[in-house]
Symmetry: C2
Subunit: 334 residues, 2 copies
């Protein structure tokens, strides 16, 4: 029997299906990769990207292990635009467009041509998270941005245009809608319960142990009850931390380990490697709000979004998260 | 220079790009169709679907022209579930799931094996719209539903699993989030201006004539200023009408004509035929609210949604709607 479920954090409703697996599908889709052109993200091709903003070295003998560069085809541009009040992006603008102020950067995660975060070495994966943290700290100190969206696209179905594993960030002058909703839900909950909403959700997941995928001393990964997508998995610290950039160096290795493990499990359980992940963290202009709780959302791209979802905002997920979590727990580690 | 723009109706922000067309793309995607199995929607295969709920005949000599059947693999189910208060789906439910009560139907738009609305005869296209209207009227009279989402998926990229042109509807016990936001924006606007927000938007589009694609005496199609997707096109009556099902028979032929024309233009201008459309209309429990204005949103699937959009709710659209509208206006009619 299908169910309607609501995610308490985003307040989104989903329909969790149970019996749509037998549906016919007349279409066969195939993705191939051009190999005629060399990859601009591989070692030795550094001149094909803009000059690096930062590089990180894992001491493995190469010129770099992680490399941060400006996006050559930015969606937003900081150049020649004066800063404007961040609040503008968060209210009704009466239809007046605003200049596309911002920054768009690429984090190249290894000099080797591999496609997924799960293929990074532990040292590389840890440096990627350090690069996220450092860019957040530096863009916060810049003073002109209110939010930085860090995200990753792996595979054509996830919107990637290049195969070589990389993340992106877009620094914005305002706080996006999804984050504002999460802040509001978290604040509402905190005001009545004196606790982080996400921490409360994690406690329930650990108690029920129906949807937990992996856990370490500091971090938990689980398939949320109101998953929008099959095998969607969230990863968060057990105890509320509002700002990702406030984390300490010593924690990043543990986080990198569980992130690699979870993505590896998703790839083994589903047989495909195409996913998005995105970091949700507190905006810059709040001093670590005690009600917010940063987390990564990992969304495999196994199904297509269709007209019902675009029309309503309500997602039909044919794979119950309890089923997905059981498969992910059973997927053997590399 | 990119721009941030906000849609007044959905209140969604988008980033309209201008210079991302040169981006490299390493991936080549190809979709093919299995032809081993016969199509269950073609004439002569009626026993492969559940029995028809309704059929329409254009007097062309066939057994039927449009055929409405229950979805064989429904996302929601009406069976054996008592009705529950519709308001439940519209509030915080404290994490309690609700049974997946509802109806899921398929509208088969022609007995011929064609793939797009633009390939229907004028008589068939008109009957499809009449089927929409009739199903809305009947499901409203049922009394257990508050909203019916009518939508279409064409092509694998739009989430279609069968090629034969069809629409779907899902009847819901509550009003979806996207519609509630549109109702709120429309009400806010109406209370200060005594006018429909969408009608005001249409008036501005007709005045500026930058983004209008087509117009008839009763209907207008335009690329909205804050389009989320390249070549996104909205189609609405010039003057506010809240409920699609209150329309008269005599209007449906004109609406079918402009809908076929617009979809044909999109297919010619972009060279591909893969799109979703969805009808936004007033919920059943309001007596034709004077502030709401039904419309179709047509969204071609030319680009992938990626991590930034999933993480923020803000869409990057690399094709300005002014450019899209110019191409659509120039696309010759069949």
């Amino acid at each position: 029997m299908p169910e309607y479920r609501q995610d308490p954090l985003s307040r989104r409703w989903v329909i969790i299906g149970s019996d749509r697996a037998g549906r016919p599908n007349e279409f066969v889709e195939a993705t191939t990769r051009h190999t005629a052109q060399p990859c601009p993200f591989c070692a030795g091709h550094e001149t094909e990207t803009p000059p690096a903003i930062a590089t990180y070295d894992a001491g493995l003998g190469g010129p770099w292990s992680v490399r941060v560069v400006p996006n050559k085809f930015p969606a937003v541009l900081a150049e020649e635009v004066p800063p404007f009040p961040g609040a503008a992006l968060e209210s009704q603008s009466e239809g007046h467009p605003l200049p596309g102020f911002g920054k768009h950067e690429v984090i190249i995660e290894t000099p080797r041509h591999v496609a997924s975060f799960s293929e990074l070495t532990p040292a590389e994966a840890t440096l990627v998270l350090r690069a996220y943290r450092d860019r957040l700290r530096i863009l916060k100190a810049d003073g002109r941005f209110r939010y930085v969206q860090i995200f990753k696209n792996v595979g054509a179905a996830a919107g990637a245009s290049l195969e070589h594993v990389h993340s992106q960030l877009i620094a914005l002058p305002g706080v996006p809608e999804v984050i504002r909703q999460e802040l509001q839900s978290s604040l509402d909950f905190f005001q009545t319960r004196q606790k982080s909403l996400l921490e409360s959700m994690i406690d329930s997941e650990l108690d029920a142990d129906l949807r937990v995928v992996a856990a370490t001393s500091r971090y938990v990964a689980w398939c949320p009850a109101a998953s929008r997508f099959p095998y969607e998995t969230w990863l968060a610290p057990r105890f509320a931390q509002a700002n990702f950039e406030n984390g300490e160096d010593g924690e990043l290795g543990e986080l990198a380990g569980i992130a690699r493990d979870v993505i590896d499990r998703i790839e083994r359980a589903t047989g495909v490697s195409t996913y998005n992940y995105y970091l949700h963290t507190a905006p810059f202009d709040r001093s670590a709000p005690e009600h917010y709780h940063w987390h990564f959302e990992i969304a495999p791209r196994l199904t297509k979004v269709a007209g019902f979802e675009w029309g309503t905002g309500c997602y039909i997920n044919p794979c119950p998260p309890e089923t997905a979590a059981a498969h992910l727990r059973g997927a053997a580690n590399r």
